[in-house]
Subunit: 346 residues, 4 copies
């Protein structure tokens, strides 16, 4: 490690989150990309998979098991859940890990088994993993070796909910989280439902009452509210756009109005560079390609109820951007290093 | 009027709902399109405005005030609210009217004034207007001279809600209606927020706690539930697609499960050709361009709560298609006449 | 076969062209859909694959080899090339065949082998197959047992070119055909390049100087021009839309101006219901979902050159719609039967 | 002007090109945004017009006539043609001007009058303006006070054509330039044809044989080929995407093959950071949001002919990005300063 730069590896660089990590880290002033793994594409140049990177000077893809970790200071892991924990378990201790998979998000291994269909085989690692919601666990992240970046939907929902729950401004009863996502949230996997002709010019709900991000949201909601357990409604919808996530929360306020909620957010996020409170309903296009999250609150016409909106780019603040933000915290870099891009709109 | 065909005029044929009425009526076995009005384009052929109709033999556009109503049996009115009531008030009594505007939907003139910003100047007509939700007011529609077709969002929401409320299966407390619409819902008006570059690749909520379809939904929900008044949450979102409307309802059930709700729908809609109950979450693409509405219900993970989905094409069942369906009822035609098109998917 | 209806089977009903054939034939006044094959989905209801058809009364999918052809008058074949010829070869002689694959389009078996990578094993059938460009081979189609519907690109290109070449108005030297297609042209196959996130918000050329529709266009161009052989430039591009094909032809005119070309088209297509000549550059949205093809011509700023545009819906006039049109010709039905749908725009 | 930073104003910051200049300059290490003009929105914060910039510390919009130019070193002008020349003519001499309008691109004032419908009233300025195709006029740009950035289409076309014409590898006879653009190319103006519902799910040619970028391309093609005058075919098409421009050139080669053309490009652009030669047909998504231009060449199946592709982001290399690149040249900054963003894909 030079005085100013660290050597970073990206595990699973051929997926969308891995590719977006490359996009961001290629411009990071404190980072050298020294290793790219992609088992299905080992031996290829990254530009064969992602031609947009043809101008970058980065190493070819190798298999994770063939990688030389000796000079690597940190890895960003873009593997799918289940594969991720197996690969991460084999990394040398001196490599700091920012994991974008779901494998270390749920503190309770039983909950993990229930929702992800396999036992968690790395409970020691699970025990030391820090939940990487940057604005809320910054102190722990700074000292962590392994950070589990939240899911894209949980990031959007929790950035809105946590400060309000902690302040006792919202009821946890019948919390309704209606979420909408662009298609990159499904990754680059070959499934019929991700084909252009199946998605364009249409929309639908999916994973109704069964989406894996529900227990993750519940874990954090319960913790912030200081209760043992909670059930929330989390209902995702697929929308015909590449990037963007939009969460609409319907909740009962505890003697608070939208203005109070906004004041609580303003106070909590005053010194946080990536979360902004806005007056209008936000739009995904106002965050596209950037690490920003926008929040807004409205009084419902039903007395005592409020409506919250939260939006972010699922591949950036919902994944790779938050991973870079966590890396910045772990290595003492400026929190915004490599994340200065303004939204691409239109 | 010949034995088998009626003469129909379309008022406001240059808007999207007017154009979709032309599309449907051009194939209707019992209809001759005899009159098209479009004040801003009077004197032009319809194909100058909508080149897709270049192969149709229909009359040129005239101003509404210059139209000859003497041979017209029915009009479909695609004018914006406020303009519509003024034009409709001047029509001869023998012309039956299917109005797609908002002017005759709200029975209470005070509510109309409050939400639409002008007094209702035709309260006698308002008194005789029938709310044109075809599957629920069919008997009244058959005998009506003036039918007020519901808004697109209310049609989707009420087709899901009314049978369940009537049967006492749903609570009216804290009814949450999160709605998503394609962009044609905004019509063809020149507003910056409707530009392609403002809408594509993004989404946002709008009209939060302030959308005019809320009082319309509330009028019908209260009536079905047998209560005086109700407040519902209605929160629309704009999604980057042309057509399609998707309503997600979050509600507390009265000791009923999703299976009970589906059974109630099946019973109510058994002989209705355009409403289908499906098991999966429906998709807008499964109704695109057609007059169908698909319903589905799920048990929430929160005990005692249910999730309902309703989807339709906002320009067809949400507007022109329901207008044609109502015309069929008013004139004793087969309810599906002119509406046999299967969805255009992909 | 009743006096007025024939029994039709759709082979390969689970692909996009097969599904669009179902969409159109379900409304055809002279057709009963009696058989649907789909080998990968045998035993399923069509609505399991295409939920939009949940309201139709059609038979379940069976394997082609298990089908009972005894009561079938005609089949529309939506199989991929190579598979199609094998299945068609086994059909009983009394079944008329409208094939949407590429297997019987090229008269020369050597050319077929060169472009499609296998020998043609049914040269007798190939010899009797009629090229199904309805407006140009109508007389032969009427008497054919086997009609090979043209590819989508060739249909668009040839409807523009053939009348002009026959009349000697265009040079065949350096004919440039720049084509743009929506994504359904690629079918429903699981390829990375067809994923929404790979296609949306972007475009690219593909199959440059190597697309299989080139020899098909050349076969017909040479024939119309009365020459032995010709090479044309055919360059397709993929555009982020579901349906629609747009062909821009750049050519040298033989002492003719755009007005002369339009006059020649007008004369040739005067009694053809689906081809229209328009003055402005046409748009794919003006034909979406319909069987229309729109043509237009302009004088180039380069002296002596002209620019031609042709647009159609690749799944309708470019595939299933033309198949139905050919069936109408083969059975003596009204040429427009089942094809009356107006374009779905917006 | 500090040692390392210059003060920059953006004239017409409320248009799309102005906004994209803000996006890029906000991250530029040598630039302070000191002035934003927008006459229709004077007095507003930029974030009222473009909420995505809510986190930026930039001045409010003022009217151009009220601006204080005394501390401004350079302006980027995003005004429409005709307005631009009037405003630029009034700027103090010490302000360097990078104009993104069409007003100073055509050297011949008669040609300007013919295509833009007004006389050029600032012929002295026109005489000193440098055509800002960065890779080809770099030396002149470095010493210019007024740089006229090329149009988006000409940038894409000329980056492909100029090195080949200069090297005598292409014929200028019958040069066919078929171009496709995303919708932001039309700016943010309120025209019906730019509405989402008019553009999505469809495409069309426009400005056939009449687009203003034709004479601009011809000016540079003639110059590179060393001839007095030339006519080219330039045919633009509108494609349903926000950003991206794709140019397909069909030309006769002078005894050269595609490999020779690529070698000539490689040689010419060897030290140019933003132009890359690729082997496959490029894709707009591989440049989205970045300042890159990708080139590729293929041998046509017609003997002696070649097919060239060029793609860029119309708002970046086709407008604001090239403006920043030119500013870098004019002030001696690193040519890539502020332009390091990798493409946003997906």
């Amino acid at each position: 490690m030079s005085a100013s730069k660290i050597n970073v590896g990206i595990i699973g660089a051929s997926g969308y989150t891995g590719a977006d990590a490359v996009r961001l880290l290629a411009m990071h002033p404190n980072v050298e990309i020294k290793l790219l793994t992609g088992n299905a594409h080992a031996g290829k140049a990254l530009a064969e998979i992602y031609p947009q990177f043809g101008g970058l000077d980065v190493p070819d893809l190798v298999k994770a098991e063939d990688a030389d970790w000796s000079t690597i200071d940190a890895v960003v892991c873009g593997l799918p859940h289940s594969t991720a924990q197996d690969v991460i378990a084999k990394l040398p201790d001196n490599v700091k890990v920012i994991d974008m998979s779901a494998d270390f998000r749920l503190h309770n291994a039983d909950t993990y088994r229930q929702w992800y269909g396999r036992t968690h085989d790395n409970q020691k690692l699970l025990g030391e993993a820090v939940y990487g919601l940057s604005e809320h666990y910054g102190d722990a992240i700074k000292n962590a070796r392994l950070v589990a970046c939240p899911g894209c939907y949980p990031t959007a929902a929790l950035l809105a909910l946590l400060p309000l729950l902690t302040a006792g401004l919202l009821s946890t009863d019948d919390l309704i989280i209606d979420a909408k996502s662009g298609v990159t949230g499904a990754g680059r996997s070959l499934k019929e439902q991700n084909l252009f002709s199946e998605v364009a010019e249409g929309m639908n709900a999916y994973g109704v009452a069964a989406h894996r991000h529900a227990p993750e949201i519940e874990q954090e909601v319960a913790k912030a509210a200081g209760i043992d357990d909670v059930r929330v409604n989390f209902t995702p919808h697929l929308v015909p756009m590449n990037r963007g996530e939009y969460v609409s929360v319907y909740a009962r306020a505890n003697k608070a109005k939208a203005a109070d909620l906004k004041a609580a957010w303003q106070a909590f996020y005053a010194d946080k560079p990536f979360v902004r409170v806005v007056d209008e309903a936000p739009a995904t296009r106002h965050v596209r390609g950037s690490n920003f999250c926008l929040l807004s609150a409205f009084d419902d016409r039903i007395d005592g109820r409020v409506i919250l909106f939260s939006t972010l780019d699922n591949l950036v603040k919902g994944s790779s951007g938050q991973a870079v933000q966590n890396m910045n915290l772990m290595f003492g870099f400026d929190e915004t290093a490599g994340l200065g891009q303004q939204p691409l709109y239109p």
